[in-house]
């Protein structure tokens, strides 16, 4: 058996009995046990992990580990996470009562994706791809209003068609933020966006 690692948690009882507990230093990793030959790309497994992830977040805020990390033992998982553990401990203690919420905004115009054939080197192509992604922007008035609605967080460029604002929100404020999102929709009916969450610490799992 191997474990698909879902997150890093402050307390053991944040995990049990929803998932297996894999101790890692002062923290605890949550893992979903699967057969060694289970392909991680399996749709049913993805959906199972997504469901457990949501249930874990209902319990307490945790550091989200990107899907694809599987370990054969608790020791292996802990060893691979070792360099992160001190930072994660600090973040979890600081943000236990907060969750992430994200607002994904569709840009008015999709920036053209660079064509690999136009570049002689892979490095130049990657730079152009990065530049094209960062060229995506949204209405400045909407940008300000979005920050007022969910808070000043981090704006992220994810692709050539959208931008995303991620913010830390107190667990008590999730409903208020959703209501503010509804108001934002009424104020900017022509701008397609999606307010979603709560999510575990994903963007803010990096140092603040």
């Amino acid at each position: 058996m191997k474990s698909v690692i879902i997150g890093a948690h402050l307390r053991r009882d944040d995990i049990e009995p929803l998932a297996d507990v894999l101790p890692a230093g002062d923290l605890f990793l949550s893992g979903l046990p699967v057969a060694d030959d289970q392909p991680l790309g399996d749709r049913e497994l993805l959906l199972r992990v997504a469901k457990v992830r949501a249930a874990l977040l209902d319990r307490a805020t945790f550091i989200a580990i990107r899907y694809g990390f599987a370990a054969g033992s608790a020791q292996e998982a802990a060893a691979k996470c070792a360099m992160h553990l001190d930072r994660w401990l600090g973040l979890l203690e600081q943000h236990r009562d907060e969750v992430e919420m994200t607002l994904k905004v569709v840009a008015p115009e999709r920036v053209a994706r660079p064509d690999r054939h136009d570049f002689s080197s892979g490095g130049d192509y990657l730079k152009a791809l990065h530049a094209a992604t960062n060229a995506v922007d949204v209405d400045p008035e909407f940008r300000t209003a979005a920050e007022e609605a969910i808070g000043k967080g981090r704006w992220l460029h994810r692709d050539q068609a959208s931008l995303e604002l991620a913010a830390l929100v107190s667990r008590d404020a999730v409903e208020r933020v959703r209501a503010a999102g509804g108001e934002l929709k009424r104020r900017f009916p022509r701008i397609p966006f999606l307010l979603s969450g709560p999510w575990p610490l994903e963007v803010f799992a990096d140092a603040l």
Binding site: A64, R66, G68, D159, S196, E202
Partner: protein, 58 residues
Amino acid sequence: MDEELEELTLLETLDHLLDRGVVVAGDAVISIGDVDLLYLGLNIVLANVDAIIRTGRK
């Protein structure tokens, strides 16, 4: 829940699962050698944007 909204929520959930959070020790999705999964991730991002546009027009 409206079917389109349900689809959007599922896409957003999978997008967060596949494209957010800490990448541990180079054990990223890419390194498991599962090209289909990476492809799935990209498709989800694109489909997600399209679904937001469709839902926004309603």
